[in-house]
């Protein structure tokens, strides 16, 4: 498996450059090829579960060369990326026929996947930056893909803030290099433990939190997200909200905070504050929206708050020297919500795309009574809404339940109260969506509306099944032990990450 690690980057990258060569005549072939590539990546991601190890590119020792690292957290993210990109690609097969230049779209899509996959398996911080830029550049272009006024404007806004974030991150990385003389995460972590924190390293941490926070769209860095995510074509919205903000933002943030710097009380509180702000501000801005996709985008901000909250409570408990079991529970809640959100939010965006394609609008006031016309879309959308609002037995309920329990155990009762309250407001806003889209009277001009075609329904059905079944990830002990627990352990182990990497290196030396 470790030998196949570069395939996570190589497959999408090669596909991305082969697709435009096929040209206009090979559009069908290009679509099939892109779908095969995403499915292959999903299979690889499933195969990578439970494995761990390091791959040294070009056989250079990891102190000087580039390393790819596979551990529990990486496999979890790879799995989420695989699921969402497979579903989004299946959906695009039919949906993107509305646009011209489909092969360019497919190519950018694969580049984005390559960037995200590369980021989560990269073992040194400069490569994190490089892959982050690959994924970001592809996403800037995809947000503006329609080339209409609103889309270009959103793309420009996104690009300016994204470039600022990238500069912050690169500056932080340069400062870390200046202070530790290393770029490898394990070596950097080792050097920081040896020398202790100093002003330069603390400033670098602040720059990295701001940079990754911008990429993760945490309030107050959220301004670009509600414009950028709705403007993209629906499958791309699903990718952006589903996995891009998580792998570029939360994953990178968690790696830096837990595995490189080690947790501290101050950072824990900063993250909790960002998380609570995101949860509350995001959900209250979402309730008032009348544009379906914009409403979903604000909910993304709010749900990202949940993910960061779990991780931050874990960091706080660990930093205060509290019980590791409760810290694990909080982190488990955060990471489980990350995967759940990837599934149900991408499903909601695909459903909104299906409705937009069938009716030509996404304004809630102009829709209505579609329950009879689009039964499958309605059913999948209902499942996803129930999940995001935390209705049992869907997946969102389980992760929110864990988060509430963890917050109570950490002694943060008010945080638990806010969590429940935000969940209630989420439920209200999705009841509004159902009332205006699927119930009520069918407007005159929508009498001809028909259900979307086969592959779009297949991809939505796939995600809806996952929404129902993912509760099992938590309830069936063997699944929990193989998929979720290793990811949690990577974070609770914290600074032992560097020791683990040295051991892997030593073990590898013996085999050779």
């Amino acid at each position: 498996m470790i030998k196949a690690l570069p395939a996570f980057v190589v497959i999408p990258l090669v596909t991305a450059f082969v697709l435009p060569v096929l040209g206009r005549k090979g559009k069908g072939a290009a679509t099939v090829l892109a779908n095969l590539a995403t499915m292959a990546l999903l299979v690889l991601a499933v195969a990578s579960i439970g494995k761990s190890g390091i791959y040294e590119v070009g056989n250079w020792s990891f102190r000087v060369g580039i390393v790819l690292v596979l551990d529990g957290l990486s496999s979890l993210l790879l799995l989420a990326i695989g699921i969402v990109s497979t579903a989004a690609m299946l959906f695009s097969t039919r949906y993107m026929e509305q646009y011209t230049a489909k092969s360019k779209y497919l190519s950018l899509f694969m580049l984005m996947v390559a960037g995200m996959n590369g980021l989560v398996i990269s073992g040194d911080i400069f490569n994190v930056f490089v892959f982050l830029e690959i994924a970001s550049l592809a996403s800037y272009a995809l947000v503006g893909f329609g080339c209409e006024e609103e889309e270009l404007e959103a793309s420009f806004k996104y690009m300016v803030l994204g470039s600022v974030a990238s500069s912050f991150i690169l500056f932080g990385i340069a400062l870390i290099y200046g202070n530790t003389a290393s770029l490898n995460m394990a070596c950097v972590s080792e050097a920081i433990q040896r020398s202790g924190m100093n002003a330069g390293l603390a400033f670098a941490l602040a720059l990295l939190i701001a940079g990754f926070g911008l990429k993760a769209a945490l309030v107050p860095f959220h301004a670009w997200l509600p414009d950028a995510h709705p403007s993209a074509p629906a499958p791309i919205s699903a990718m952006l909200s589903g996995v891009l903000i998580k792998s570029l933002g939360v994953y990178a943030l968690a790696r830096v905070v837990f595995n490189i710097y080690g947790v501290s009380v101050a950072v824990g509180w900063v993250l909790i504050a960002l998380a609570i702000l995101s949860m509350v501000v995001g959900v209250f801005l979402a309730v008032g929206q009348w544009d379906f996709k914009r409403l979903l985008a604000y909910h993304s901000i709010s749900q990202m708050g949940y993910v960061v909250l779990g991780i931050a409570i874990g960091a706080l408990i660990l930093a205060q020297g509290g019980s590791v079991a409760w810290a694990s529970l909080a982190i488990l809640g955060g990471l489980f919500h990350l995967v759940n959100h990837a599934v149900f939010k991408s499903l909601l965006f695909l459903a909104s795309g299906s409705i937009q394609m069938a009716t030509g609008t996404r304004n809630l006031k102009q829709l209505g009574g579609l329950a009879q016309r689009m039964p499958v879309t309605r059913a999948t959308c209902a499942i996803a809404s129930a999940s995001i609002a935390g209705v049992p037995p869907f997946n969102g309920f389980w992760s929110k339940l864990i988060l509430v329990v963890a917050a109570v155990q950490a002694g943060l009762l008010w945080v638990a109260a806010v969590t429940v309250l935000v969940s209630l407001v989420t439920l209200i806003s999705f009841l509004k969506v159902h009332r205006y889209v699927f119930l009520g009277d069918l407007p005159e001009n929508l009498h001809q509306t028909r259900e979307s075609s086969g592959l779009m329904l297949v991809s939505m059905g796939f995600l809806a099944c996952l929404c129902v079944l993912m509760g099992l990830l938590l309830l069936v002990p063997s699944l929990k032990e193989t998929i979720l627990d290793p990811a949690v352990k990577v974070l609770t182990d914290g600074l032992n990450y560097s020791r683990w990497m040295m051991e892997m290196q030593a073990a590898r030396g013996k085999i050779l």
Binding site: A154, F156, Y177
Partner: protein
Amino acid sequence: MLYALCFLLFMIGLYCAVVKKNMVKIVIGLAIMEYAVNLFLIMLGYRAGGAAPIIDRTYLEAGTDKVTASFINAAVDPLPQALVLTSIVISLGSLALIIAMCIRIYGKYGTFDITEIRRLKG
């Protein structure tokens, strides 16, 4: 001192990107930020009067393949230069994309003023 000036340049770029109303000036601000970071990286590896980090036979200790201590103390750090090359290429790509986007926006709206480009609200 030099590092502080470098940080000042970064802040000037950030100010320009955040405050200016003209799209082209915003792009220039972003470019200045990227240059400041590149400059900072280069300065990390710089050593006044240092030697190029290319190993010659004269720099090896006699009879071994280890470089001499005097070479290590004199040579500049080559890694930041490799990093800067990568980062310049990346910023070239992102600048080209953002300028292309500016041209398309100008074609649609007929202005570079971002206060007049406001279709998205909420």
